[in-house]
């Protein structure tokens, strides 16, 4: 039975058709996947369905009746519950108040706390969650917070539930709990839309799928049982995706490591971390979100305290105190995973974004920086990395994600680093640019850079790394030489991740 239908939805922004005739049908008692690359229009579609955007064309039908939503309130009233990608709880409020925020129960004009408690408890019980409605949400774990948000989405008596990347920041074990809840909601006859980047999850819990590409639905409501993983990827990408072929590259194992960690422990909880990288080598540091990989990188740069063990650079034990110290004295650079907040200065021109690491080197008397040298340097890297720009004074925020990532990387190349820590370089970047980045990283190593590649993208790791180091719960769980065979490697890595039973929460 069709509960909800979005038919031929069109949404136009100045200069771009974000949605161009998208159709999506949700059946009762079924989980429907919404797939598509970044920028394909998934979030725009969700915003249209939830009443944050008004569509410029097409119809929204609930139980076959045409609806028009002017605000999230109206879509909620119609029975559409949403769990958004961002955390949407109010700190300082209790679990119960957060669940019922959309319509706080009142008696005689005042908020009725007893009613909140009992009603919230009812929704939590529905999800079989053991959470006290009176607890402040600040005391919840991330997974608990996620589940509370589902309770919140249900509390509007919703029969249609949209889950936007619900597993993005939780561990596999916590995800399993979430999936049990989803199964239960499905059995109760609700229609669920599941948006995720993780194809494994989609194949695990979804029944049907809609794939978006460039604002259009290239597949609307196909049964997942009839599709293979590769077919889905090809639909998302829009062409048959060929495996990347990279030239030969050999690592000279006789060369001593340029960066070496011996028994390192940090204030954020790492212990006994041993790790080494040689010049010309790509070492992959693999782990799930929250395993402590970026934290390790930041501790190496002096942003967190190293409490045990030693860090050796070029054979000498060193104490790195700041990023500047790492760059200036040890030639270590770090390309952050958090591009928009830590990688680029969105409101500054491209020139400054790249030159930021070299002013220290270019400066003359009284700190004067000769503009000509600066521009020449920047232009050279803009060309080498194929960054498409209108002018070097263009603001970085006006560029695409891929080009921003190139800028984030370019500043470290300009700084002539010899050790480069690259953190999740291709998150949120389309498949084609992703291949280009892989070629670049490969190429940098071939030119002698030592690269520590942090990623939770298994194919990326297996394509690029010479050695794979697996981290879980802030500890190294094992190290494997990479033979670039996807099936074999992925099994070994997954086995390491899940070794010794379950992860501690």
């Amino acid at each position: 039975m069709t509960l909800f239908e979005a038919s031929e939805i069109v949404k136009v922004f100045p200069g771009v058709r974000a949605l161009d005739g998208v159709t999506l049908t949700l059946e009762a008692g079924s989980v429907h996947a919404l797939l598509g690359e970044n920028g394909a229009g998934k979030s725009t579609l969700i915003k249209v369905i939830t009443g944050l955007y008004r569509p410029d064309g097409g119809r929204l039908l609930m139980d076959g009746r045409e609806m028009s939503f002017g605000s999230p309130h109206e879509s909620a009233a119609a029975g559409i519950g949403v769990v958004h990608q961002e955390r949407n709880l109010i700190p300082g409020f209790t679990v119960g108040e957060n669940i019922l925020l959309q319509k706080l129960p009142t008696s005689r004009g005042l908020v009725d706390r007893a009613a909140i408690r009992s009603e919230a408890a009812r929704w939590l019980a529905e999800l079989e969650l053991d959470i006290d409605p009176d607890q402040p949400v600040t005391e919840l774990s991330v997974a608990q917070a996620q589940l509370v948000e589902i309770a919140k989405a249900l509390s509007v008596e919703s029969r249609v539930l949209l889950l936007d990347e619900p597993t993005a920041s939780i561990t596999p074990n916590e995800a399993a709990l979430l999936f049990r809840v989803v199964e239960k909601l499905k059995d109760d006859g609700r229609a669920i839309l599941f948006v995720s980047h993780k194809l494994e999850e989609v194949f695990q819990i979804c029944d049907t799928v809609t794939v978006l590409r460039d604002g259009a639905s290239v597949l609307s409501g196909g049964a997942l049982a009839d599709l293979t993983r590769d077919e889905v990827v090809d639909l998302m990408v829009g062409r048959v995706h060929e495996a990347l072929s990279l030239p030969e590259r050999a690592v000279d194992t006789a060369v001593p490591p340029i960066l070496e960690l011996r028994g390192v422990g940090t204030a954020s909880g790492h212990a006994d971390v041993d790790l080494s990288v040689r010049p010309g080598e790509i070492v992959g540091l693999y782990g799930l979100v929250g395993a402590g990989r970026s934290e390790l990188a930041k501790a190496l740069l002096g942003l967190d305290r190293i409490t045990a063990g030693e860090v050796r650079v070029r054979g000498e034990a060193v104490k790195i105190r700041t990023v500047r110290d790492a760059l200036r004295n040890h030639k270590i650079g770090y390309v952050t995973e958090n591009r928009k907040e830590e990688g680029v200065f969105l409101e500054q021109p491209i020139t400054r974004n790249i030159a930021v690491t070299i002013w220290d080197r270019l400066r003359k008397v009284l700190g004067y920086v000769p503009a000509k040298v600066e521009t020449a340097m920047v232009t050279s890297y803009v060309e080498q990395l194929g960054i498409r720009i209108a002018s070097p004074s263009q603001l970085a925020g006006t560029l695409s994600g891929g080009n921003q990532q190139k800028i984030s990387l370019a500043k470290w190349l300009a700084a002539q680093t010899e050790i480069l820590i690259i953190d999740e370089p291709t998150v949120g970047i389309d498949v084609r640019t992703k291949d280009a980045f892989h070629t670049l990283i490969w190429d940098l190593a071939a030119n002698g850079l030592a690269i520590l590649l942090i990623t939770s993208d298994l194919p990326e790791m297996i394509t690029l790394a010479d050695r794979v180091v697996v981290m879980r719960d802030h500890r190294i769980r094992g190290e494997l030489p990479n033979n670039h065979d996807y099936d074999q490697m992925s099994q070994q890595v997954i086995r390491l991740i899940h070794a010794e039973g379950t992860t501690a929460a």
Binding site: E341, E342, G386
Partner: protein, 375 residues
């Protein structure tokens, strides 16, 4: 220059998509500084027509320029912290504190005019650096820290004055102070050619301050790093900028300029007392903000600060000549600030609408914005 990127990688990275067009540059009529300049000129002409006395060199233009010079320095003091997205609510009290030290140096240690100024500048720099240090060390919002510092100084300064002076003012005037107050460029002659009697010599301090601050922000590593810190502290830290030190330096610069402004005020009023700088807070924000400096950090305009200050000072003076009571002037100044910023908003909206070529969907409307919480 080593080039670690090989041509194969460059080839792979090249894109066949068209160049992403940035939103078109703002048209000239939307340029804030041009608008300000026109306004200043038009208003001056208007006041001149209504009250020809407005162009009286000694009685009007001379003190007008002296005020513009002083408030420009006050504006620059605020601009330095605005550049990193901070605020200095104690800008006036820092001036008072520095002048207290200067006063002590004249009164007790019999310093000369300029060595006293130097001591004051050092004191201002130190108190500013202290504010910066507390902010950098604790991570507490600059608004709160400078507000608390303002309290502290507000309490401390009168205590010192009452214990050291008879009438709550330092009376010793070093030689040269009176001359500095009254002399104009007419007193500077090269051969037979003398300068205009309308331009006070005191303005030279503002010119120097503008040149130095302008040089720092436009040409040096320090200035750029300050702006980057203002744009995004986290990105700056991760790009190897010592952000804590930059925060301290920005506040120290602010303190130093506040001290200079305090000195200019002390010279032009002829007395060093505890109330110096009490009127600085509003103009310190008016000049830079009207001139286009961003409250959120990352962009500053030195000329804009001068023009913004000039505009408010001309209006103040003009209305004064028209017989509007001195304190009710505030009504007009406040209205002008609101009007200027609202029209700025309208202008931005208009030029955005013209540049719809921008390819990205509009950002979601900003929610209940807090002063520094938007980034």
């Amino acid at each position: 220059m080593s080039a670690p990127v090989s041509s194969t990688a460059t080839e792979a990275l090249r894109e066949d998509t068209p160049v992403e067009k940035p939103p078109r540059g703002t048209p000239w009529w939307a340029n804030q500084r041009v608008g300000l300049l026109l306004l200043v000129v038009l208003l001056s002409a208007l006041f001149g027509v209504l009250r020809p006395a407005f162009f009286n060199q000694q009685l009007v233009v001379f003190p007008l320029l002296r005020d513009i010079a002083m408030f420009t320095v006050v504006g620059l003091a605020q601009l330095c912290v605005l550049s990193i997205g901070h605020m200095n609510l104690a800008v006036g009290r820092m001036a008072a504190f520095s002048m207290m030290i200067t006063g002590i140096s004249y009164d007790l240690w019999h310093f000369t005019l300029y060595s006293g100024l130097l001591v004051g500048l050092v004191a201002g720099t130190a108190i500013g650096a202290l504010a910066g240090w507390v902010i950098a060390r604790t991570g507490v919002n600059s608004f709160v820290v400078t507000l608390a510092l303002d309290f502290l100084l507000l309490g401390m300064i009168p205590l010192v004055y009452t214990s050291l002076t008879e009438n709550a003012a330092f009376v010793t005037k070093p030689p040269g102070m009176r001359e500095l107050r009254n002399f104009s460029l007419a007193d500077v002659c090269i051969g037979n050619v003398c300068g205009s009697p309308a331009v006070p010599q005191l303005a030279i301090f503002a010119v120097i301050a503008m040149a130095v601050v302008g040089w720092i922000y436009a040409r040096t590593r320090l200035g750029r790093e300050l702006l980057m810190t203002g744009s995004s502290v986290r990105a700056a830290e991760l790009s190897g900028i010592p952000t804590a030190r930059r925060v301290i330096i920005a506040h120290a610069m602010s303190g130093c300029l506040a001290a200079l402004a305090g000195f200019m005020l002390a010279v032009s009023t002829g007395s060093i007392k505890a109330t110096i700088g009490e009127e600085f807070m509003l103009p310190s924000f008016l000049g830079p903000i009207l001139g286009g400096t961003l409250l959120a950090g990352g962009f500053v305009s030195i000329w804009g600060t001068l023009l913004g200050t000039a505009l408010t000072t001309v209006i103040r003076k003009g209305l004064d000549l028209l017989g509007v009571g001195l304190e009710s002037l505030n009504i007009y100044l406040g209205l002008i600030l609101l009007a200027a910023l609202s029209t700025d908003r309208i202008r931005t909206l208009l030029s955005d609408r013209q540049a719809v070529a921008s390819s990205s969907p509009p950002p979601p409307p900003k929610a209940a914005g807090s002063q520094e919480g938007e980034r």
